[in-house]
């Protein structure tokens, strides 16, 4: 019987011939990703760890990224607790403040291997689906239990089949695609589902796939999935992952899906998500001219080299509006270094951008770019919930790096296709 990606990969890991949506299976993930919240996770099981130990020093990946460098004594102490845990239990995969945002680091370091299951105590863990990983977010309690047992249960999801056709017009990006899909499906349209992408995948550079998979959770998805094609293989080779290290799974033709959708990339236009929900999507045209106070270019959605390159190209030779603070936050040190090497950071800084250290920046409202009441921010991040950037009386619009760059110049929401 033809099967979806989710059914195949979960059956394999559960060592079952066949699984069906709704079935509960027991799996052992290859990795458990944690970030600054590792302090709270290990805090739950200090005594248990002392008694039973960490199940496997290669299971956890810990990346300090959410509030780095520490903003106050409390966050500094959390980081300190995590470093002590790493040392005591010889955690193999630890990345201290400054290496980058957890999801970017996991992929860059070759820890998201196609065909594996990776769980993370962060909702955007679904990003690794871009590399054919079955990856999904879990809560802290579950992460704590995993550190002790190395296994957990998963419900086999139903799947949504999305066919992509053709390629983007200039000025339209993967962010516009995923925002459009979320606007159509709404915030719960893919609840509990595996969202599997088919069709002209080869036109999507790997970083575009990261952006798309990253935001699957914003329509409620359990995971996202892309096939491993030549581009994905090349990316993996470029970060030093050998073919023998991974296996690939992909959906069979004729598998059963909850629904089928199709998008013609050539017909898409730049869009934004308006406050205060991600599915409140409108064409940039409809909100063009709206004044903004802050622009954010970065986060695990759009802080990669191609995003910074796109913004630098649009901003080169121009200046950031004096009414706007443009924050640029590379997703990782590797991205920062490459962007410096290529001159993008120079371009952006000369134009008037503030360059912040790799990490989550103001995305979750904890530090570095908190908004004031009544302010409006245009951001490449993935959530615009009320209060997300630290102030409930501020507004967040989500957009592509191209739209953010074009708007930073004018100080108003601007269609990137109108910038000459």
């Amino acid at each position: 019987m033809p099967r979806t990606f989710a059914e195949k990969i979960l059956a394999h890991h559960a060592e079952l011939e066949h699984v069906v949506p709704g079935q509960i299976v027991t799996v052992k993930p290859a990795h458990l990703m944690m970030h600054d919240n590792a302090a709270a996770i290990i805090g739950k099981i200090n005594d248990d760890l002392a008694r039973y130990g960490l199940i496997d020093s290669k299971l956890p990946i810990i990346v300090l990224d959410h509030v780095v460098p520490a903003v106050d004594e409390k966050t500094a102490t959390n980081h300190q607790k995590i470093r002590a845990f790493v040392k005591k239990y010889k955690v193999r995969h630890f990345f201290d403040a400054g290496v980058g945002i957890c999801h970017q680091v996991v992929m860059e370091q070759g820890l998201a291997l196609p065909g594996t299951i990776v769980l993370g105590s962060d909702s955007h863990t679904c990003t690794y689906g871009a590399l054919g990983v079955f990856a999904t977010g879990i809560d802290r309690t579950e992460a704590a239990a995993l550190l002790l047992t190395g296994e957990t249960w998963l419900k086999v999801p139903q799947s949504i089949h999305i066919t992509l056709k053709n390629k983007f017009q200039p000025g339209v990006t993967a962010k516009d695609l995923i925002l459009t899909i979320i606007g159509d499906l709404r915030a719960d349209g893919a609840n509990y589902c595996s969202v599997e992408f088919h069709g002209d995948i080869h036109v999507l550079p790997i970083e575009d796939r990261f952006t798309i998979a990253n935001m699957a959770i914003e329509m409620g998805a359990k995971n996202a999935a892309f096939p491993i094609d030549i581009l994905a293989e090349k990316y993996l080779a470029s970060i030093g992952v050998r073919k023998e290290q991974y296996s690939t799974f992909w959906a069979d033709n004729g598998a059963t899906y909850q629904q089928h959708l199709e998008y013609d990339l050539a017909s898409l236009t730049p869009v934004v998500a308006k406050p205060h929900t991600v599915d409140n999507v409108a064409p940039v045209k409809a909100v063009a001219g709206t004044e903004i106070d802050q622009c954010v270019l970065g986060t695990c959605t759009n802080g990669r080299l191609s995003d910074i390159q796109l913004a630098a190209k649009i901003i080169a030779g121009k200046t950031v509006s004096p009414h706007v603070r443009l924050l640029v936050i590379p997703a990782s040190r590797a991205v920062l270094n490459a962007a410096m090497q290529a001159g993008y950071i120079q371009t952006l800084s000369e134009a008037g951008a503030m360059i912040l250290p790799p990490g989550c920046g103001p995305c979750l409202g904890a530090h570095m770019g908190i908004l004031a009441p009544g302010e409006r921010c245009l951001s490449t991040s993935n959530r615009n919930f009320r209060g997300r950037m630290g102030c409930k009386d501020a507004e967040i619009y989500l957009a592509s790096p191209a739209t953010v760059a074009a708007s930073a110049i004018t100080g108003k929401i601007t269609d990137p296709r109108s910038v000459k």
Partner: protein, 160 residues
């Protein structure tokens, strides 16, 4: 006992603002911030045995577990919604917070209606109507019966 009623897409930032993620993890720290930006009366008025009615996609957003932990700790007997977001659903199981998907009960509820739960039977009475909801799979009931995932895990580890 109070009934709290909220709409669709109540996200984790409304339940518990993200800016407190790294400064609040105990119940006493979490409780004052529950529904802070949405309904300032909740934290002050919530009592043991209260029930929340909500629309679709309750708990969407972050994987932070303070919302589930906080609601259980504040004494919420059950959240009855049209649907729940997946990570929140899982977090609630792991925390022993009871979530019931029962759209008919949500639609039927009118202010002042009496609401009672018959867990064993899998039914909810709302005013003078009765609705049934699906019972949970055994694997998940075992976690709930143990009092939450960590308790369940400890029992398993002891047997090893």
């Amino acid at each position: 006992m109070n009934i709290w009623r909220y709409g669709d897409d109540i996200n984790t930032d409304m339940l518990f603002p993200g800016k407190y993620t790294y400064t609040c993890s105990t119940l006493n720290e979490i409780k004052p911030h529950l529904f802070e930006d949405l309904d300032p009366e909740f934290a002050a008025g919530v009592q043991t045995g209260d029930i929340i009615f909500a629309g679709k996609n309750f708990g969407c957003g972050s994987s932070r577990e303070q919302p589930a932990l906080g609601l259980r700790g504040a004494g919420i007997e059950a959240v009855i919604a049209i649907s729940f977001a997946r990570i929140f659903y899982r977090a609630a199981i792991n925390q022993g917070l009871l979530l019931i998907e029962c759209p008919d009960a949500v639609m039927a509820y009118q202010p002042e209606d009496n609401v009672t739960l018959q867990l064993e039977a899998g039914t909810i009475s709302v005013g003078n109507q009765k609705f049934s909801f699906p019972t949970l799979p055994d694997e998940i009931l075992a976690i709930r019966d143990a009092g939450g995932l960590l308790e369940y895990t400890r029992e398993k580890l002891k047997l090893r």
